[in-house]
């Protein structure tokens, strides 16, 4: 039982505190209703829906070329990967063969997006714990990526670079050079990140052993991405169900087994290095050729349903299209990683102290528009 923005105490000495909908640590309009006994958390109840824009319903009135842009507005930090998932679903339905060049470009862009997203998370997570400077360091490098994106895709955040059958335009002539420069720079900077935050004693004490999620719980809550991998669940879609050219590149799936906040933190930190590895393998070998397959101006998916999934920076994103054979989808469902990851928050935070809640939430890497859609 709760009423808005009130602190209620009930008969069992329990205190109900509202965090949000506007709270700096929730990174968006997330409303948490926390039941406390003293400082110990008894229950965390997320209340959703503050930025529900009914993207799924909107997509039903958009054509198969148009609906891709709407998915950038879900998880805006990995907008490019969302677009990729949608494009893959349409391609699966139409059975379009994507040219090699487009596949290479797509994967390089995906990994750049992943690095950018993890960097923002790193800065924001440190800020949740009271360290303000890391945010600037993270944004300094992230800015380089957004510049690369801006040059090739034309936008910094909502790229909309994917079209069914490939990518919208060919890469900018400077693209390869800039990416290589960035990779060189980033490799030294990521050591700085470790120096600044990972080794820091205050940070370690606040994250180690906090927000524990067991392997069994991670599976039963449907967690994916770094949250599940921090608990030792192998769930990297890039490895398990490779799409585009992920089966041709060599990289490791990062697994940590501790299941605490620090494990989830380490998964993401190590994932950034893996992304660098993937980009290094691809950037010099982009094959010549078309960047887009020849497609009709109006796309019509055959009757049936199509499901594709990709690994975004937050976990598994599934796109499910039901088609009746028309130019617009009959129904679209997005399986967003943030929603399932958030559902495990109660399990992680229960029994812990309220001060640790923010640290735990930081490691979930929540993007609220992704949860509400």
């Amino acid at each position: 039982m709760y009423t808005e923005t009130q602190i209620i105490s009930n008969s069992n000495d329990e205190l109900v505190v509202n965090v949000g909908p506007q709270h700096p640590a929730t990174h968006g309009v997330l409303h948490l209703v926390i039941t406390l006994q003293g400082e110990t958390i008894k229950k965390v109840e997320p209340h959703l829906g503050y930025i529900h824009r009914s993207i799924e319903k909107m997509c039903e009135s958009l054509t198969y070329r148009q609906f891709i842009y709407a998915s950038s507005r879900m998880d805006y930090l990995s907008a490019h990967i969302n677009n990729h998932a949608c494009a893959l679903a349409v391609e699966k339905g139409m059975q379009i063969e994507v040219p090699q060049r487009a596949q290479y470009i797509r994967v390089i862009m995906d990994e750049l997006t992943r690095i950018a997203s993890h960097e923002l998370w790193w800065g924001a997570m440190a800020m949740d714990l009271g360290a303000f400077t890391p945010f600037f360091y993270a944004f300094r490098e992230r800015e380089k990526i957004t510049d690369i994106m801006e040059e090739t895709c034309g936008a910094r955040l909502t790229m909309n670079y994917m079209v069914p059958g490939g990518v919208m335009t060919d890469i900018h002539p400077d693209f390869q050079k800039k990416v290589k420069e960035f990779i060189e720079l980033f490799k030294s900077k990521i050591d700085e990140y470790d120096e600044l935050v990972t080794g820091n004693i205050i940070f370690q004490n606040r994250t180690k052993g906090v927000g524990y999620l067991s392997k069994a719980d991670a599976i039963s809550y449907g967690c994916t991405g770094a949250v599940a991998r921090g608990s030792g669940v192998s769930c990297d879609i890039r490895k398990l169900y490779p799409y585009d050219i992920y089966d041709k590149v060599v990289f490791d799936e990062i697994l940590e087994t501790e299941g605490d906040s620090f494990a989830r933190y380490m998964v993401r930190m190590r994932e950034m290095r893996e992304s660098v590895k993937i980009i290094e393998q691809l950037i010099d070998n982009i094959p010549e050729g078309e960047h887009q397959a020849k497609t009709k101006a109006v796309l019509k998916l055959p009757k049936g349903d199509f499901y594709t999934r990709v690994e975004t920076a937050r976990g598994e994103l599934g796109v499910y299209i039901v088609s009746e054979g028309a130019t617009t989808p009959y129904r679209i469902k997005f399986r967003s990683p943030g929603f399932s990851n958030l559902s495990a928050l109660d399990q992680m935070a229960r029994g812990g102290k309220i001060g640790d809640l923010m640290a735990t939430m930081g490691t979930l890497d929540l993007v609220i528009p992704d949860i509400d859609r």
């Binding site: 958009l62 070329r65 148009q66 609906f67 842009y69 709407a70 400077t133 300094r140 800015e143 510049d147 801006e150 040059e151 090739t152 895709c153 034309g154 936008a155 909502t158 909309n160 079209v163 919208m168 335009t169 900018h172 700085e192 120096e195 600044l196 935050v197 080794g199 820091n200 004693i201 205050i202 370690q204 101006a297």
Partner: protein
Amino acid sequence: MFIKEYITEIAKATKSLWTGMRLTGHYFIRLKTVITEQYPDNRDTLKMAERFRGEVTMPHDENNQHACTGCTACELACPNATIKVITKFELTPENKKKKALDTFVYHLDMCTLCGLCVDACPTGAIQMGQNFEHSVYDRSTLTKKLNKPGSKIREGVE
């Protein structure tokens, strides 16, 4: 034993804090590493990327001619109904009726700058412009007419 562990722990903790501080100090004394852009002051030198999507524009050449045939492909491609292409019929020299552009209405306030219209245009009549300073006092000024008054379609564009 306990005392020894306790002291090592403190020494380690202090060292880890100093490592972080050293990095901060490193940047603090090196002004060259500052990357802040002084935005409103650097407007003269600020150059946006060539492909940057700031607004939809319709380039006209020196004879006040554009390349839009009024085919409405961009209108159909737009997910937000941002574009309204109003067409009229013109008489060709052979006395045949031909569709031509009358007014190209563009609602900047509804545009998500996705670039789908530019991608769909068969004649390359519209382009994305680099201007990103769109704030105005009156919302109605964001509804624009993109073809200039008195402009005509360039010859040879079908």
